[in-house]
Amino acid sequence: MPESSFLCLGAGAGQDVGRSCILVSIAGKNVMLDCGMHMGYNDDRRFPDFSYITQNGRLTDFLDCVIISHFHLDHCGALPYFSEMVGYDGPIYMTHPTKAICPILLEDYRKITVDKKGEINFFTSQMIKDCMKKVVAVHLHQTVQVDEELEIKAYYAGHVLGAAMFQIKVGCESVVYTGDYNMTPDRHLGAAWIDKCRPDLLISESTYATTIRDSKRCRERDFLKKVHETVERGGKVLIPVFALGRAQELCILLETFWERMNLKAPIYFSTGLTEKANHYYKLFITWTNQKIRKTFVQRNMFEFKHIKAFDRAFADNPGPMVVFATPGMLHAGQSLQIFKKWAGNEKNMVIMPGYCVQGTVGHKILSGQRKLEMEGRQILEVKMQVEYMSFSAHADAKGIMQLIRQAEPRNVLLVHGEAKKMEFLKQKIEQEFHVSCYMPANGETTTIFTNPSIPVDISLGLLKRETALGLLPDVRKPQLMHGTLILKDNSFRLVSPEQALKELGLTEHQLRFTCRVHIQDPRKEHETVLRVYNHLKGVLKDYSVQHLPDGSITVESILIQATAHSEDQGTKVLLVSWTYQDEELGSYLTSLLKKGLPQSTP
């Protein structure tokens, strides 16, 4: 039984959040999935270790393609470094929205690292552009043929605009890589969906491996209620957000709520990055959820009516307002400035929509600190209300299980999560689906054995002929078929024997089996023959049994002749002869005859 293997190499993802980079070797093809960076490091460790892939030799020769699942930096941040600085010239695949938004984020990231922090030896704007030239954009459910054997196909993944899961297929072996995905729809994106593709391996993220989340509606309602109440009593609401993804969801949420409730208070959005990205959100309507897709004919939901661009001066305006500002953790920039201005008034409110890293202002106020020390020994007293509202777009444990149920993989591999949590999920998966589950660490290689089916070409004539013989073909049962297997030029063909003979230039040899059966029968030969004939006729009702005038019997193509034994006249010798094609029937007949004839009835 042939076995082929997947080589899965966690160059960066493994049991860790951030820096996704997975190498898959499938049937001799090497594919790199995602090329992320780690936000926590500022040295070499931020990028995956590409030297791991090939010790010597060019990456382009080794890798067949690179696939990027979505535009978050922990999934695409190292791409320019990888392609331009390390050197890779092969194709890079991503979806259209990812291709559009990815360079914006990379450029922003570059600016912060190089211009603000003053680092050198980092990729340049030109490198980002050059890198993007290598990108091939794919559509949802479009099968892209990378080369003759390797094909990839994208599925919708939710999470952020343009996020996709990829199916990688070589011959009949396939891997599905989920990237980050979300199984519950939100205000602007739908839920991840995959068909029953039954891959050999499913590589799934597992950020929330041990969490089952509450309904989104409660959270949304809480959020809206809080904003609404604050605005009604004349307070200002500050929502620090990361530029892309959640910000759009919250915008849509507030926009529709304003529309529904006829509210008039202004909503502002801090300019820059997000505004640019919003254009793309407007363009890629097909990637959004049902509501936005259905209503965009009347109005594109991303053309906000109530949300306007923010100007620094607006922060001092009297009256209620809602402001979205970056960055999300309140550690610097516009959001911090506005926070300082508004913190003193108890009518105001700040809503933290995401997780905050320790040490940031966001983390401090969330943990209940009311007096903050700012630079310059200033003490800032926080009187405004502080709320936490989590809006995460990853699948929870239930979602992951649901996806596994949809795809029906033969093996599951968990990445992008914490080891302890993954352990729990692994156990669950093995228990529920009875498939093996792996969770490699960084740099670890997992080999999975598959049981590939080998396709064989069969000529239509032969197929029709053979199926016509038996009953209706049934997918669930294997079916016997006669033919000749020709192995030629690395391909298999099943042809009829005649054709095979013709192709090979051979002449056909007849193979006949002959068997003698002794029967005790004192009667005359022709009477014996008659008895045998009657007996067979009685037993083999479905076959054509004929008594030929020359004293022999044919059953289909099997010939039976009876002669008296040369020594003992009471023993008759039955000669049974059949070709090898009729082996089954022939051996059955002999065994039947060996049992002897039934007692004759007078």
Partner: protein, 969 residues
């Protein structure tokens, strides 16, 4: 052969002619047409190539074929079928055979054999499938013939082994539609098909083609629909199909499982991989719940819908559907709903959430967490969160149905329904509000839930707000804070959307009357009274103040201690509101207070019984009219009419009845006036004024009778007779007046004829009611009928005149319930001074919003009329979708009317009015069947005479200022 065929064609042709002799008038036209079959035959013979033949057939298929020639056509088609080599032409012929056998009145008995024979030598799978389809058509037309059905089923069974999915598909369909349902019949017929059809179909559940699998399940469902009891053994097979790769198979399988769960709810099935056993309905419920998280939304919708109708399921299974154990980092977490409930029960209200407030507490056993439950866990949680709104709506509907049958479930699902009020799609929100209303008698809202519900009051969609008001009308609130909260939010709503006034008042009326004890402690605060100081008197015209009063007065109705808390001006305001908004303010017993100053003091306000009595008494009085002198009659009638009209204004419940009677008496009054004796003795040409008066009276009576007949709902046939009788009298009067004013008998002749015809049809329509009409006009008229028919017009008129004057006044029996159709245009209000400007020649849309009460079938009858200042009137039929039905007997018309006109020099007013269209045909048809109401039964026998169509205005006209400007160049 051809000659033989032609002969048959001509035979048939002559047959047609013969029939025409029998019924000459109806079939005159067909004489000139050549027979269809002949023409087809000629065409097909002419066809040189298959493409040509196909063209002829296509052309032929466009025209209908008469019943008589169907058989001939079929024979010709069959003839060509055998000759034809091209599969596509045979396919078309096969489909034509099916079409032809559908012809109404044609019995396909005679072609069954031929049709079955064609199957024998057919090689093309497509044609075979089409032929089987034809057989199906034939079979469905011959359902009463078991032997034909048997044969067809047998044929189908034979072809089940075909290699093409299309053929197998059709075979299964045929077996499903025609397979024997009764056990007995199957035994009698000794044939292959007598085998169990269920088994045959069941074998194909495992077919290799998903389309065939689907067809097999559908066939099974079809058998079920036709009344065959499916075997329980199928259940396990169907369960396997739920995991099929193809969505249409899964979708059908879900249906099949549902059917089986309804058939064998109580049988026991084992749970695989354990020794336990559960009821089949529970098992099926669990399986269908599982399908709510299927990959295909079609299946999800199907599953969610079916869940609603599984009412026998055990309650713990049911409650699991709302259960989703939350966890975070392997520790059990409480849901937001649970937290809200806890906050509520612990007495403190939400303090605003801190980060980590929802931090998970208990550790959970990793082994015990089931991530994909086999049971029903969280099915509705998933369904309600689905990405497709179709699924969400289906889930909400299912919740509604299940909650209606199980109060405990209703209590549990409340949180989820309340959450749905914030859905992004308005339809879903609306649906969940309606659902909540439907289950509202089972539930009591907690304060935090009420809070969420009330937040929706600010929605900008009027439909949502009104649905919510409707919901609040029948909600139970648990605390006085809840009531206060509701009131505050409703008042906020009122200031934001003043047009909601009526709806909010009505809502508060019910809120008050449902919770008198909760309102009681709030009264001093609401009325802002103070134990020592007098507070300023609130403004009586303030809608918000009226709203508060409506709440309090309705609560006071069943809470006698409440009026003690009122201050002086409250009593005065009560009196005022009781009179001006009598439908919202109930009568109160106010102890120790004599409110003589009020126009209708509570002591005088008649209760329902006395006022009804009054109505009947006044009618009694009127029925003794005969004995009075004409002057007396008139006076009595006038007084009674006045009384009744006033009564209608005061007692809204009796308004319909009072108005109806008043109108009737009005008619009688007019008739009496017109027939005053002394005036008629004057020579006709000399007394023009009398003629004018009489003809005007006749015209008005006619109008009023139409109003009586069509504007009231609940009119029974007894009333209809009397109304028609009145109309007949009016027509008689018209005839007399015409006879007096016109010279020459020529025009009279036709009129008399027509009148007599009407009397005749009256007699035919109301033959059963005639015995009750002793001494009436028509009674006498029918006695004289033989004379009338033979006499001259002038004599007829004379007879009519005397009969009319001698006839007695008919008593009008009152039905149980009688409501007058009313319409009230809410928008446009007609108060705006700003003209609606638009460029002449272009169109402007005017929003019209109106409430309709007691209008039956508003989609068909209500029209909008726009009257321009130049007298031009335009009648607009609103779309059926513009009508909404917020409650029984009530309708809401929200539509847009497009206006256009040529340029005007200055703004001018147009009138917008609602009309009720009627058609007298319908009433007559319904009068024939005393049981049915007048609105239905359009399809009854066609009336010989033309029905009179007309419209009745039934709303006050509203004036709208418009200004078409000349177009700028």
């Amino acid at each position: 052969m051809a000659a033989h065929l032609k002969k048959r064609v001509y035979e048939e042709f002559t047959k047609v002619v013969q029939q025409q002799h029998e019924d000459l008038s109806a079939k005159k036209l067909r004489l000139t047409k050549p027979s269809k079959s002949a023409a087809l035959h000629v065409d097909l013979c002419k066809a040189t190539s298959p493409a040509d033949a196909l063209q002829y057939l296509l052309q032929f298929a466009r025209k209908p074929v008469e019943v008589e020639s169907v058989e001939g056509v079929v024979r010709i088609l069959l003839e060509h079928y055998y000759k034809e080599n091209d599969a596509s032409v045979r396919l078309k012929i096969a489909s034509l055979l099916g079409l032809l056998s559908k012809t109404a009145g044609f019995s396909p008995d005679c072609i069954v054999d031929d049709a079955i024979n064609t199957l024998q030598n057919e090689k093309s799978h497509q044609v075979l499938a089409q032929l089987l389809d034809t057989l199906l058509v034939i079979g469905t037309k011959l359902t009463e013939n078991p032997s034909v059905r048997m044969r067809l089923v047998e044929v189908a069974c034979k072809h089940l082994t075909d290699s093409s999915h299309g053929v197998r598909n059709k075979c299964l369909q045929l077996i499903g539609c025609l397979g024997p349902v009764e056990k007995g019949a199957a035994k009698e017929v000794e044939s292959q098909a007598a085998r169990d059809v269920q088994k045959i179909i069941g074998d194909h559940f495992n077919d290799q083609d998903p389309r065939v699998r689907t067809a097999a399940i559908k066939a099974m469902l079809q058998l079920h629909e036709r009344g065959l009891k499916l075997q329980q053994a199928i259940y396990s097979q169907a369960c396997k199909l739920l995991a099929d790769d193809y969505e249409q198979v899964r979708s059908a399988a879900v249906q099949l499982i549902w059917v089986l769960s309804q058939l064998y709810p109580e049988s026991i099935v084992p749970i695989p991989s354990s020794n336990e056993e559960i009821r089949l309905v529970d098992d099926a419920f669990g399986k269908i719940c599982h399908m709510v998280s299927d990959g295909s939304w079609v299946v999800r919708v199907q599953a969610a819908k079916l869940l609603g109708s599984m009412q026998q399921v055990s309650s713990h299974f049911l409650e699991q559907t709302l259960d989703k154990k939350l966890m975070s980092d392997l520790r059990r977490k409480r849901t937001a709903h649970e937290r809200a409930k806890e906050l509520y029960s612990s007495g403190e209200f939400s303090s605003g959430r801190k980060w980590g407030d929802d931090a998970p507490k208990e550790e959970i056993d990793t082994g015990a967490v089931n991530l994909i439950e086999s049971g029903a866990c969280g099915a509705f949680v998933h369904g309600l969160e689905d990405e497709m709104y179709e699924v969400r709506i289906a889930a909400v509907e299912a919740l509604c149905m299940l909650a209606q049958s199980s109060p405990s479930f209703a209590e549990k699902c409340l949180d989820f329904l309340v959450d749905m009020f914030n859905d992004e799609i308005e339809e879903v929100r609306l649906q969940s509000i309606h659902t909540m209303r439907k289950i509202s008698n089972n539930i009591t809202l907690r304060e935090d839930q009420l809070d969420t519900v009330l937040a929706v009051l600010e929605d900008s969609s009027r439909d949502i707000r009104e649905a919510l008001h409707e919901l609040l009308c029948c909600t139970n609130v648990s605390t006085k804070e809840g009531i206060h909260l509701a009131l505050v939010e409703l008042l906020k709503n009122l200031t934001k959307y003043p047009t909601d006034r009526e709806s909010i008042w009505k809502c508060l009326k019910f809120l008050g009357s449902r919770h008198p004890t909760l309102v009681l402690p709030l009264v001093p605060e609401l009325l802002s009274t103070h134990p020592f100081f007098d507070t300023p008197e609130p403004d009586m015209d303030d809608p918000a103040y009226i709203a508060v009063l409506v709440l309090i007065f309705n609560a006071a109705k069943s809470c006698p201690t409440m009026p003690a808390l009122f201050s002086d001006h409250t009593f005065r305001h009560y009196a005022y509101l009781r009179d001006s908004l009598s439908h919202l303010v109930p009568p109160l017993r106010l102890p120790g207070r004599k409110l003589v100053s009020s126009p209708v003091s509570p002591s005088i306000v008649p209760h329902e019984d006395p006022s009804q009595q009054f109505l009947h008494q006044s009618l009694e009085r009127v029925y003794n009219l005969q004995h009075l002198d004409p002057q007396g009659i008139q006076e009595l009638l006038e007084f009674t009419i006045r009384d009744l009209q006033r009564l209608g204004e005061l007692q809204s419940e009796l308004a319909g009845m009072a108005d109806f009677t008043a109108t009737y008496l009005q008619c009688q009054l007019l008739l009496t006036k017109a027939l005053q004796e002394k005036l008629w003795n004057v020579a006709a040409p000399l007394y023009l004024k009398q003629n004018a008066l009489a003809s005007a009276a006749a015209k008005q009576i006619l109008e009023e009778t139409y109003k009586m007949e069509f504007m009231y709902s609940g009119v029974e046939s007894r009333q209809v007779v009397i109304i028609h009788h009145m109309r007949l009298q009016a027509k008689a009067l018209q005839l007399i007046v015409t006879a007096r004013t016109t010279r020459g008998a020529e025009p009279l002749f036709g009129m008399c004829e027509k009148f007599l015809q009407e009397v005749d049809s009256f007699q035919r329509c109301f033959i059963s009611e005639l015995p009750h009409m002793q001494g009436s006009f028509v009674d006498k008229l029918l006695d004289l009928m033989p004379r009338l028919v033979t006499s001259k017009p002038s004599e007829v008129v004379k007879i009519l005149q005397t009969t009319l004057r001698q006839s007695t006044f008919l008593h009008l029996p009152l039905p149980q319930q009688l409501h007058r159709a009313t319409a009230n245009i809410i928008e446009p209000t007609g108060e705006s001074d700003n003209p609606l400007r638009f460029t002449s020649g272009l169109v402007v849309a005017l929003d019209v919003d109106a409430t309709l009460e007691h209008v039956q079938d508003p989609q068909g009858t209500v029209k909008v009329q726009v009257l321009y200042p130049d007298g031009q009137a335009q009648i607009i039929h609103p779309k059926p979708a513009d009508f909404r039905n917020p409650g029984p007997g009530r309708h809401r018309l929200i539509t847009q009317v497009y206006l256009s006109h040529t340029a005007w020099t200055e703004p001018c007013q147009i009138e917008v009015q609602l009309l009720l269209a009627y058609n007298s045909n319908r009433s007559k048809a319904s009068a024939k069947m005393p049981k049915s109401t007048w609105s239905e039964s359009l399809e009854t026998l066609p009336q010989p005479e033309n029905g009179i169509e007309g419209t009745i205005p039934f709303s006050k006209p509203v004036k709208v200022f418009i200004m078409p400007k000349p177009a700028r160049r």
